[in-house]
Amino acid sequence: MYKNILLAADGSNNALRAANEAIKIASLSNESVIDIVYVADYEKTKEDVLHASSADELMIERRKKIQNVEKALKDNNVSYKVTILHGLPGPEIIKYANERKMDIVVIGSRGLNSLQEMVIGSVSHKVMKRVYCPVLIVK
């Protein structure tokens, strides 16, 4: 059974669709825990810090970004926890999933920025290639 489910979230609608699939997988077992992982991107740290009046406000701002996903999980009575990582989204998710020996990674196919995707490649593609466990990419 899939016990430890990593759900990558970035505030997009894709992430919400991924959440719905993660819920389906989690509902197969009572022991399942979904770990919602949000990566605070290094490229945006300066902007984030500059526009937040305190470290606490910044924390809340980031939690707001995954509120849509959190709500979906709460509504479906799935047990979950929230993890905020710092770094580049792709590598951080991969490192975290492999270190924690996740059973499955669920990730949306496309994040927020399509231009960035064209230039540096999509996060989901990188994750799929380098994570040891199965990956579910949600369209």
Binding site: Y42, T45, K46, V49, L50, H51, S53, A55, H86
Partner: protein, 477 residues
């Protein structure tokens, strides 16, 4: 917070590698900022060496990189122009002393009172000034200058997509310096603007008269440098805190910046502070500990001693290209979204900060003006009190205190009330002081004279306390 041993040796491999990357990225900036300040490149290079090395030991934020910066260089321009470099060194020492005092008196806390709008204005103004400082070095000099600037920009923006390990500015620097040397193009070089000394800095006391007049000259500059240096350092510390997910000691950092500047002044370097861009490069390259700053500073000095002959051959146009990149990276591009979305007053404060800095060329004046302006906006906002009427029910919205009593009284003076009995609802308000209580009883008296009985409801506990304390004095009983 981590133990000191952890801060030094918790990440040796990562710190050494990132320190080398930062040293390579620092060279062009340290030279360019020296040129902005109007001093020899060595003044910025010595500053970067001394400060990076000293801050590794005394700083409060491991992993943060401090060296010669644009913000500080811009403040020094008039001092160097009017009085010379010796006065700059004296001002640097005084800047350090002021920062040490700031650290001791825990001034880092006041950072909280500097609104976001001012900080956003600060970085944007800094970016604009760095860009403007480049203009005389590339507009209308020669066609080859434009070509070199353009090629530099192409290299620094496209190369990082393919090569991540070596800083792109360094690649541009090496390639284009080689091209310039072997092709014999007519280009201005760093050597035309200053000298490179291939030796370690040595201790010297600034050659200025030690009297009140000197103090009068340097004190305003030192104060501005101390404030701006601390502002940028503490902002950078917050960014590094967030990137690494660890806490730092801001007062220790303020004190550390001070110590570093005092020492730097005695070793022929200009006042320095933390650098946002370089610190981000350090963290991204895997740097986390104090060792990274020590390696960055030492390796920078090593490179200058070994390669100093080549450094003077670097064309100015390449440096200009790198500085344009730095200014684009410094600018907060989300500001445009901010201008549209933020409250009107915040947007005005941000724009005012930028405009004042660009006009005065002084970041400290812009910051002070921005803080003052937002304080005024805050007072206006907090002292605005509204009363909403629903039949005989009057709902007070806002804070009732000495600054807002006029609005409260005027409302009841100017409103025609037909009912014999009204209620004044304070559940969306609070009475803060005696003036508020006085205003309330004045309004009640005024209404009673017109034959209207006013009942006050919805006072919260703390407002009730203020009202009760003055119960005996109030004329309405």
């Amino acid at each position: 917070m981590q133990s000191l041993k952890q801060q030094w040796f918790g990440n040796v491999r990562g710190d050494i590698l990132s320190g080398i990357v930062v040293a390579l990225a620092l060279i062009p900036e340290a030279i360019a900022f020296s040129i902005i300040a109007g001093v020899d490149p060595m003044v910025g290079l010595y500053a970067s060496f001394c400060v990076a090395v000293i801050i590794a030991f005394v700083g409060g934020r491991p992993g943060m990189i401090s060296a010669a910066t644009g913000a500080m260089a811009l403040l020094m321009v008039p001092l160097v122009r009017d009085h010379g470099v010796e006065y700059l060194l004296a001002a640097t020492i005084l800047t350090g002393i002021i920062q040490i005092l700031f650290g001791i008196f825990k001034v880092a806390k006041i950072m909280k009172f500097i609104p976001n709008a001012v900080m956003i204005g600060f970085v944007n103004a800094l970016a604009i000034l760095i860009f403007m400082a480049q203009v005389p070095h590339f507009i209308g000099i020669s066609n080859m200058t434009y070509v070199f600037v353009a090629i530099t920009l192409v290299i620094v923006y496209t190369l990082p997509r393919f090569v991540k390990a070596i800083p792109a500015p360094l690649v541009a620097l090496v390639i284009l310096t080689a091209v310039a040397m072997f092709s014999g193009f007519e280009l201005r070089t760093i050597g035309d603007l200053g000298n490179i000394t291939q030796s370690l800095p040595s201790f010297l006391i600034p050659n200025v008269p030690f009297n009140f007049e000197t103090l009068q000259i340097i004190l305003p500059y030192s104060l501005a440098l101390a404030i701006v240096g601390l502002l940028e350092s503490l902002l950078t510390a917050q960014i590094v805190d967030d990137m690494t997910g660890t806490a730092s000691n801001k007062n220790k950092e303020a004190r550390g910046q001070g110590i570093a500047n005092v020492v730097t002044g005695f070793f022929g370097g200009m006042a320095a502070c933390a650098m946002i861009g370089q610190s981000v490069i350090n963290i991204k390259s895997g740097g986390r500990g104090r060792l990274s700053s020590l390696v960055a500073g030492s390796f920078l000095m090593f490179l200058i001693i070994v390669l100093g002959d080549l450094v003077v051959k670097i064309p100015m146009s390449v440096l200009v290209g790198i500085m344009i990149m730095v200014s684009i990276g410094t600018f907060d591009w989300s500001s445009f979204k901010y201008l549209a979305k933020a409250p009107r007053t915040d947007a005005i404060v941000m724009l005012a900060t930028v405009i004042i800095v660009v006009y005065t060329h002084d970041l400290s004046i812009g910051v002070l003006a921005g803080v003052l302006l937002s304080a005024i906006f805050f007072v206006v906002k907090i002292s605005t009190l509204k009363v909403e009427r629903k039949n005989s029910h009057y709902i007070v919205k806002g804070q009732l205190f000495f600054a807002s009593t006029d609005g409260f009284i005027d409302y009841f003076k100017s409103t025609d009330i037909n009912e014999k009995e009204i209620t004044i609802d304070f559940s969306n308000s609070r009475i803060w002081d005696d003036s508020g209580v006085a205003a309330l009883s004045k309004v009640k008296d005024m209404l009673r004279d017109e034959g209207i009985e006013a009942k006050v409801i919805g006072l919260d506990t703390s407002s009730q306390k203020v009202v009760q304390q003055l119960d005996g004095i109030s004329s309405s009983h």
